[in-house]
Symmetry: C2
Subunit: 360 residues, 2 copies
């Protein structure tokens, strides 16, 4: 491999069966391994490599250490006409949340709206993976999860909240769906994890160190606290997501959640909250979608600020990334490639990693 | 009145029947006038005077001009096991949203979660007025509304979105409920309206003028655009609220909504989205509330940043304001007092406004 780190790109159609094989080798049923591989690669495709295959190593470690169940007993604790209370049995987050969103969607078809409150969850990847499923079925999808405490409350310095992610997706007609997906921190902590793996500095303003001072050192930031977006407003949103995801479901919350990284001691016990709204219960779906198209057209045709080329709508960059990455492969750093190669050897898989790389 | 403007305070128990009488004189049924008076005074009590009785004048003007129905035909367009689609008949926003939240709560008791999508709405005051009703009944309440376009999309300068407010409230045990209530702009536009009424400058960073330049002039800001909180994230949230409130319900959206102020030409046609989650469908309510108490205790006991006295939770400042204002009266500027006095004369009410002021 003569290209620089930044130029290494994996072909998605080749990476997918390889990642699936890794998870099957780690112990997941084939169908579940497919969901997890799809979830991670979708993140890479959309340009969020922090939530992509850079997580394969830590997911496998969690399975190896017994803190992710490969055959979880996913149980319905309670069911109402429009809601499920689910125990995820510490199964792989993507497997549990994928099932939960499908349950919501099925129920929403008759109830108009349906939700699923999930306890005993583990890291579920990008939240938009689930909300886009709803949009694909002409529904409005909402999903959020709590996360291990890495963010101080506004005015504090001790991490008491996660960078709790939330997403909402809405179907459009001629346009791509509108996909909002955000951490409640200024940036997803995964981007700082990735900077540490790749040994890069982070921009000032993303995080504070343990004493509350701004830092550009990814390792110091990971020991300290990331900052909420929009100051006290992002703090309030993170807190409310923690309640919806964690306390309502009876999962952990705040500082009582197990970390994903460097944790061979405890379950994560995350909580998820998923919701689907059946648009057809309110308006004719074609009418709704054409109005979303109109809204998008109006916003994109409005006057940009000086030095701005184009006004974007939520999810637009990600759909462009996906188009580009499907053609050119997903960007991977040497740290991630090293992880994949070491897993290949551990699981004695015969894949030639170099053959998965996109030829320049 | 020898006190300076800032020292003038109205006794709430005296102001309430007076404000109610104004709305009855303007044409509202007595019970509806009570809801609107309660909604506005609760905003003042909680310290959000921008959404309090400073709005009595414009509400009365809207009734006078025929763009708020005093006896609206509130109609259920569709009902599912967990949702209502409601036409608000251009009735007073607080009256319609109050009824909609009560309908959600009743349904949620059996369905676990219930929502109400409302079209043909008018300005509904503070969103937390409705979500706190849910919290008072041991539910999680969520409410949002769209608003006339006064905020440019991120990267733009033309107002295409409202400062769309959203609120979520959660019951606690020994503590006050957690009440998150926020505009999707850096500050509520009402605060800029109030600055204009009181002829005060606004802080830099709240808004841009018509050419996209930052401004401290309230009037220039009102002609230009307020800025979303958290940059592109607040923009995405405002957009999603516009869809949930406006497009899902079939109300107006974006730049197609009628202004509240200086508008003798059109209905507002706002949309609301209200939601209630019955906590008892998921966990024993006392267990839930005691965990919320624990969460609050843990956050408040965590280490504050240098120069910070105390870490606050959402709604805490407002409950303190309420306690103080119940005792000392709500602060009112001379512009608002002038409005109230002119309405008193127009409607030929015999109230002596000076007698409503809190004695120093």
């Amino acid at each position: 491999m003569t290209q620089s780190d930044c130029d290494q790109r994996l072909r998605v159609e080749a990476a997918y069966p390889f990642v699936q094989r890794i998870f099957v080798a780690a112990g997941l049923p084939k169908a579940d391994a497919a969901v997890v591989a799809d979830n991670l690669l979708q993140a890479d495709l959309r340009g969020h490599s922090s939530h992509g295959i850079s997580r394969v190593r830590v997911y496998c470690n969690r399975i190896r250490d017994g803190f992710v169940a490969t055959a979880p007993a996913i149980k319905v604790i309670n069911e109402t006409p429009a809601a499920f209370h689910l125990d995820g049995g510490h199964g792989m987050g993507a497997v549990v949340a994928d099932r939960a969103m499908r349950m919501c969607m099925e129920k929403a078809r008759t109830s108009g709206i349906a939700m699923c409150s999930v306890r005993a969850g583990t890291h579920f990847g990008i939240a938009s993976y689930y909300t886009m499923q709803a949009a694909a079925e002409d529904m409005i999808g909402y999903a959020c999860s709590n996360a291990p405490a890495t963010m101080a409350p506004w005015g504090g310095i001790t991490p008491m909240l996660g960078t709790n992610p939330f997403s909402m997706s809405v179907p459009a007609g001629k346009h791509c769906p509108l996909v909002f997906d955000s951490a409640s921190s200024i940036v997803a902590r995964g981007k700082i994890n990735l900077a540490e793996i790749e040994d890069r500095p982070i921009p000032l303003g993303w995080a504070i160190d343990q004493l509350g001072h701004p830092t550009t050192d990814a390792t110091e930031a990971l020991k300290g606290s990331v900052l909420p977006f929009g100051e006290h407003k992002g703090y309030g949103i993170a807190l409310m997501i923690d309640i919806l995801s964690g306390i309502l479901s009876g999962a952990g919350y705040g500082s009582h959640l197990g970390p994903l990284w460097n944790n061979a001691e405890s379950y994560q016990n995350l909580g998820f909250f998923l919701l689907a709204i059946d648009i057809a219960s309110f308006r004719a779906i074609e009418e709704f979608k054409s109005q979303i198209d109109q809204m998008i057209d109006e916003i994109k045709a409005s006057k940009p600020a000086p030095q701005v080329d184009e006004i974007l709508v939520p999810g637009e960059i990600e759909f462009r990334n996906e188009e580009y990455n499907r053609k050119h492969g997903i960007a991977v750093g040497s740290g991630v490639l090293h992880d994949l190669e070491s897993l290949r050897r551990e699981f004695d898989l015969d894949t030639d990693l170099a053959a998965l790389l996109h030829s320049a």
